[in-house]
Amino acid sequence: MPEILDQARTQVLENGVGLDEAGVLAVLNLPDEHVPAALQLAHEVRMRWCGPEVEVEGIVSLKTGGCPEDCHFCSQSGLFTSPVRSVWLDIPALVEAAKQTAATGATEFCIVAAVRGPDARLMKQLREGVDAIRAEVDIQVAASLGMLTQEQVDELVEMGVHRYNHNLETCRSYFPNVVTTHSWEERWETLTMVRASGMEVCCGGILGLGETVEQRAEFAAQLAALDPHEVPLNFLNPRPGTPLADRPVVEGRDALRAIAAFRLAMPRTILRYAGGRELTLGDLGTRDGLLGGINAVIVGNYLTTLGRPATDDLKLLDDLKMPVKALSATL
């Protein structure tokens, strides 16, 4: 057994203290033959500190495309020659999307907008949408609207948005290679305000942007320092027209290493499968990740791309005897 896994067994599994950056790097550098042991340990950590429940979420894009920012992985930036056109979702369609999501047994519904930060029109649309959903659907509403002012944070709390997603996307040292129109520190500022407001913090990122293994470890350590309630883990799905269109997808084995390492860095967080898993991991890898530290999934489609049918994921959870977290457990 590699020394780092022995250390993690005591430190993380028994004492609930996450690995530091050096420890995460050691896990990310484990030879292939030790990856199953790392996943097994990460699974034990998840079961011990989070339990067997899996949190199921659906997401929808309230405002798609035409974003003024230049995140190099994103097909919704208006600065690239992506074929994604700008479009707004109306309130009845938003409520219908929330209903579809709730029908899968999901407890979370995240409303997302492709913006630098919300303007008055978007906040108004969101307020109407949240009110309409709350009147008709039994589900927790989360939001992801980019960078916020303190006034907007307060408004979201008052609307009843219980969790706010704002991804750091990658580690601080690599961020300027991926985004030039705003800084990692600006994102951090929004996260700090969200945390102070009492909303739950959801913050993750994308692996496979061209970062080194060392930078992946740096990212895990920076997320652990933030201590988010939830960490969505995406794997790059290279989008036509974006600067990262020709990047290779993350190898399945490296994705699994990262899942184990991020779990060992953050024993108590909700570690969620987000975009790109279908491409990077396929069906078999998806199962391996759920048995290797993942305890939440986005079901159904993403914002501009499609996912597996929700029924496939729900069947997999059933096969694995992992109960879907009930709404009563989240309130």
């Binding site: 659906g58 997401i59 929808v60 894009s61 405002k63 798609t64 495309g65 035409g66 974003c67 003024p68 208006g78 690239f80 020659t81 992506s82 074929p83 994604v84 056109r85 700008s86 479009v87 707004w88 979702l89 369609a93 219908e96 999307a97 579809q100 999501t101 899968t104 913006v115 630098r116 303007d119 029109r121 978007l122 799905n237 036509p240 027209g241 279908e278 491409l279 079901v299 159904g300 489609n301 993403y302 914002l303 501009t304 791309t305 499609l306 996912g307 049918p309 929700a310």
Partner: protein, 85 residues
């Protein structure tokens, strides 16, 4: 926040945008990459489409307004109307 931003560049539109589909009703344009169907096999596009909605109208090569929802999608061409999946 800007609505309906056309990309600065991208495949040029055919002069007869809005023309009907090709002989026998076959689509003229790949709905994923927007290039001519006749120009290549588009096998990679077809594979990618398993996890993507269409982006280009197969009849006229206009970029469609696409809305992805948790359990489906809709794509609207201003000339040829809406398709759903």
């Amino acid at each position: 926040m800007t609505e309906l931003v056309e990309p600065a560049a991208g495949p040029p539109r055919p002069r007869d945008a809005g023309a009907p589909v090709g002989p026998g009703g076959a689509p003229c344009w790949c709905d994923r990459c927007g290039e001519s169907v006749a120009a290549g096999p588009h096998e990679a596009c077809a594979a990618a489409r398993a996890l993507e909605p269409p982006r280009w109208c197969a009849s006229c090569r206009r970029r469609m307004k696409v809305q992805v929802l948790p359990s489906g999608w809709s794509a609207v061409c201003v000339e040829h109307g809406e398709i759903r999946g």
